[in-house]
C-alpha cells in the first residue's frame, strides 16, 4: 500500500489562448500523503487543482486521479475525491445538519448513515450544540472546519483543498491541520494549496511552482537541505521568484 500512486500527472499542459498556465507538469502523489502545492499568485496552482478535481480540462497530457483516467472516467474520478475551496463551500442559509445531509445525499450515502456520521462528526469536533444552527451564524473558523469535515464525509481517496485556511485565525488553523493529519492517518490523500509557509512545513512533500512550471518537489526537510535554508519560506522566496519582474 505504501507508495501507491493516487495521482499521476505526466506532461500536463493547460493553455488559455496563448497563455500557458501549466507548462509540462509531471508529478505523482502517493496514498495517505499530505501534498503541499505551493506557488506565488498566478503561478498556475489553482489551474492544476481545477484540472485534477475535474473542474477544468487539460490541453494535453496524461492525468490519472484515484486510478482513473480523467478524460475517459471523469465521472468515476468524481466519486473518489472531495473538494473544498477558499471561497466558503457550505450553504449559509441551511443548518449544520442540513448541509451535511445535503452533501452526503449528493454523494449517494444512505440517510441513516449520514445521520450517524453527523452525530459522530459533531461530537468529535465538539460542535454538538450547533447541530441545528444556521451556518451563516457561525464564525468563519468553525465553518471552515465543518466544510473540511463535509468534504471528506464520503471517505474519498483524495481531498483537494484550495487555500482552505485563508482568513482563519492561527489557533483555528492549528486545529484545522490536526483534522488534516487525522484524515491522512485514515488513508485519505490530502492535496492542499496554501500561502502560509508554516503550513508547508506540516506537509509530507511540497511542490513549488513558478510561472506554470514545477521548480522542485521534495519533503520540507529535503528542500531546506538542498537550498541551505532554515525554513520552507526561505526556500520559496529563493526559488519561486519569477525570472523577470512584472510591473503592476
Amino acid at each position: 500500500m505504501i507508495n501507491e500512486k493516487v495521482i499521476e500527472v505526466k506532461d500536463l499542459v493547460k493553455k488559455f489562448g496563448s497563455f500557458v498556465a501549466n507548462d509540462n507538469l509531471t508529478f505523482d502523489v502517493y496514498r495517505g500523503e499530505i501534498f503541499g502545492f505551493l506557488g506565488a499568485n498566478g503561478a498556475g496552482k489553482t489551474t492544476t487543482l481545477r484540472i485534477l478535481s475535474g473542474l477544468s480540462k487539460p490541453t494535453s497530457g496524461d492525468v490519472r486521479v484515484a486510478g482513473f483516467d480523467i478524460y475517459r472516467h471523469a465521472e468515476r474520478v468524481k466519486r473518489h475525491i472531495g473538494y473544498m475551496c477558499q471561497k466558503f463551500s457550505l450553504y449559509e442559509d441551511l443548518t449544520v445538519a442540513e448541509n451535511i445531509m445535503l452533501y452526503g445525499g449528493i454523494y449517494g450515502l444512505p440517510k441513516k448513515l449520514i445521520e450517524g456520521k453527523t452525530t459522530e462528526l459533531l461530537e468529535s469536533m465538539d460542535f454538538t450544540a450547533y447541530r441545528k444552527r444556521i451556518i451563516g451564524d457561525l464564525p468563519l473558523g468553525m465553518r471552515q472546519k465543518l466544510a473540511f469535515a463535509v468534504a471528506i464525509l464520503h471517505d474519498p481517496d483524495i481531498v483537494f483543498l484550495d487555500e482552505p485556511t485563508g482568513g482563519v485565525d492561527p489557533i483555528t488553523r492549528r486545529q484545522f491541520w490536526e483534522m488534516i493529519y487525522k484524515a491522512s492517518a485514515d488513508g485519505i490523500t490530502v492535496f492542499v494549496t496554501t500561502h502560509y509557509m508554516d503550513e508547508a512545513e506540516y506537509c509530507d512533500r511540497v511542490s513549488i511552482m513558478s510561472e506554470g512550471r514545477i521548480v522542485d518537489i521534495d519533503s520540507p526537510a529535503g528542500l531546506k537541505d538542498k537550498y541551505r535554508c532554515a525554513t520552507v519560506q526561505d526556500v520559496f522566496v529563493k526559488i519561486a521568484r519569477p525570472s523577470n519582474n512584472k510591473t503592476g
Partner: protein, 369 residues
C-alpha cells in the same frame, strides 16, 4: 434520482427561508394584479349621475330611464335648479350632470334638434372622457330608436362602434395577459439567474461540479422549484382575476396551462443563459431587470400598441418573447380560440427556448475548457 431530489429539496429550503424571495414570488404577482385591476381602469360601471330635467316630457324621461337601465350609470339625484349642480358634484358621488333644456321634447320634434348639456367632473379626466362618450353613445342609440317610431323627423345617426371580445371595453380583460407575461418572465429569468449565480459567488457551485452530480442535474435541480412555483403563480393570477375582477377564461384552461408551462420553460432557460453570462448576482439582476423588464413592458404590446411605434421598435418587438406569449394568452383567455390559432406563436416560443438552451450549453462548455 435520490441525489437529485435531495438537491431540489435544498433549493426549496433556500426559497422558503428567504422572505424577500417569497415576496417576489408570491407578493408581487398578487399585488400587480390588484394594482393593475383597480388603478388602470378604462371602463366605467355604475357611475353616479344627476339629472336636471327642465322639460320633463316623454322623450327626456325616456332618455333618463334608458341611461339608468344601462349598467354604466346610476341616477343618484334629480336636481330642480341649476344652482344645485355645484353642490351635487361636491358630494362626490356623481361623475356627470345631464341638463335638458326647457321644452326639450317639443323642440326636438318640431325643429329636429334639441340641446342636452353634459357636465362631467373634470378632476378625473379619464373618467370624465369615458362618461361623456358613453352618454353620447346611449343618446345616439335612443335617438335612433326614436327615428324608427317618429317618422318624418330626422336626426343624424352616427356610425355604430362595436367592440368584439370586450364589448364593454373592460380594461381588466387586457391587463391580465400583460401582467402574467411580465411576472412570469421576471420571476423565471431573474430568480433562476440569481439562484445560479449565487452558487457561483459563494463557491458552492464548484463543490457541486466536483461532486458526482452531473451539470444537467445541478441546473435542473436549481430550476425545478422555480418551475413549480411559477406555475402556482399562473394559477394565483388567473384565480385572483376571476375572483376579484370576474374575468373568465373563455378558451381551454388546459391549453392555457400548457402554454404557460412552455413560457415558464422559456423564462427559465433565459435565466440559465443569463447566469452563464454573468459572474455575480448583481450582474444577473442588472441584466434581468434592464434587459428584460423594460423591453417586456414597452415592446410586448402590453401597454402601448406596437403598431404605432417607431420602426426600430417594430423591428425589435418580434425578438421579445413576451410579445408572442401575450398574443397566446389573449387569444385563449379572451377570444377563446384553440390551438389552431396560436400554433405559430407556440412554435416561435419553442424555437426561442431552444436557442437559449443551446447558447447556455455552449457558454457553459466553453467555461469548462
Amino acid at each position: 434520482m435520490k441525489r437529485f431530489f435531495g438537491f431540489v429539496k435544498k433549493e426549496f429550503m433556500h426559497i422558503f427561508r428567504d422572505v424577500r424571495t417569497l415576496i417576489i414570488l408570491f407578493g408581487i404577482p398578487a399585488a400587480q394584479i390588484l394594482i393593475f385591476g383597480y388603478a388602470v381602469r378604462t371602463d366605467i360601471k355604475n357611475a353616479g349621475i344627476a339629472v336636471l330635467d327642465q322639460s320633463k316630457d316623454e322623450i327626456s324621461t325616456g332618455l333618463v330611464s334608458r341611461l339608468e337601465s344601462s349598467e354604466f350609470f346610476i341616477l343618484k339625484e334629480n336636481l330642480v335648479s341649476g344652482d344645485h349642480i355645484d353642490r351635487a358634484f361636491k358630494k362626490g358621488d356623481i361623475k356627470a350632470v345631464l341638463i335638458f333644456e326647457n321644452g326639450f321634447g317639443k323642440r326636438l320634434l318640431s325643429e329636429g334638434s334639441a340641446r342636452i348639456e353634459i357636465i362631467a367632473d373634470g378632476s378625473e379626466p379619464n373618467v370624465a372622457n369615458l362618461v361623456t362618450s358613453y352618454t353620447r353613445a346611449i343618446i345616439n342609440d335612443y335617438m335612433t330608436d326614436l327615428n324608427k317610431v317618429e317618422a318624418g323627423s330626422f336626426i343624424a345617426v352616427e356610425p355604430e362602434v362595436k367592440m368584439y371580445y370586450n364589448p364593454n371595453l373592460e380594461s381588466q380583460y387586457m391587463f391580465v395577459p400583460g401582467v402574467m407575461t411580465i411576472i412570469l418572465v421576471l420571476i423565471c429569468a431573474l430568480m433562476t439567474s440569481v439562484a445560479i449565480t449565487r452558487e457561483k459567488e459563494f463557491g458552492t457551485m464548484e463543490v457541486l461540479l466536483v461532486s458526482p452530480l452531473k451539470p444537467l442535474q445541478i441546473i435542473l435541480g436549481k430550476v425545478t422549484p422555480y418551475f413549480i412555483l411559477s406555475l402556482i403563480d399562473v394559477i394565483v393570477v388567473l384565480f385572483l382575476s376571476w375572483l376579484v375582477f370576474d374575468i373568465p377564461i373563455k378558451g381551454s384552461l388546459v391549453l392555457l396551462m400548457l402554454e404557460s408551462m412552455l413560457y415558464i420553460m422559456l423564462g427559465l432557460s433565459l435565466g440559465i443563459m443569463i447566469s452563464t453570462l454573468s459572474k455575480t448576482m448583481q450582474q444577473a439582476i442588472f441584466i434581468s431587470l434592464l434587459g428584460l423588464m423594460l423591453p417586456t413592458i414597452i415592446l410586448s404590446g402590453f401597454i402601448f400598441p406596437v403598431e404605432y411605434m417607431p420602426w426600430i421598435y417594430r423591428v425589435l418587438s418580434p425578438v421579445i418573447p413576451p410579445r408572442w406569449f401575450i398574443i397566446i394568452v389573449k387569444d385563449i383567455m379572451i377570444k377563446g380560440t384553440g390551438f389552431t390559432f396560436v400554433w405559430k406563436e407556440t412554435l416561435i416560443l419553442i424555437f426561442m427556448t431552444l436557442v437559449f438552451i443551446i447558447i447556455s450549453t455552449m457558454t457553459f462548455k466553453k467555461r469548462l475548457e
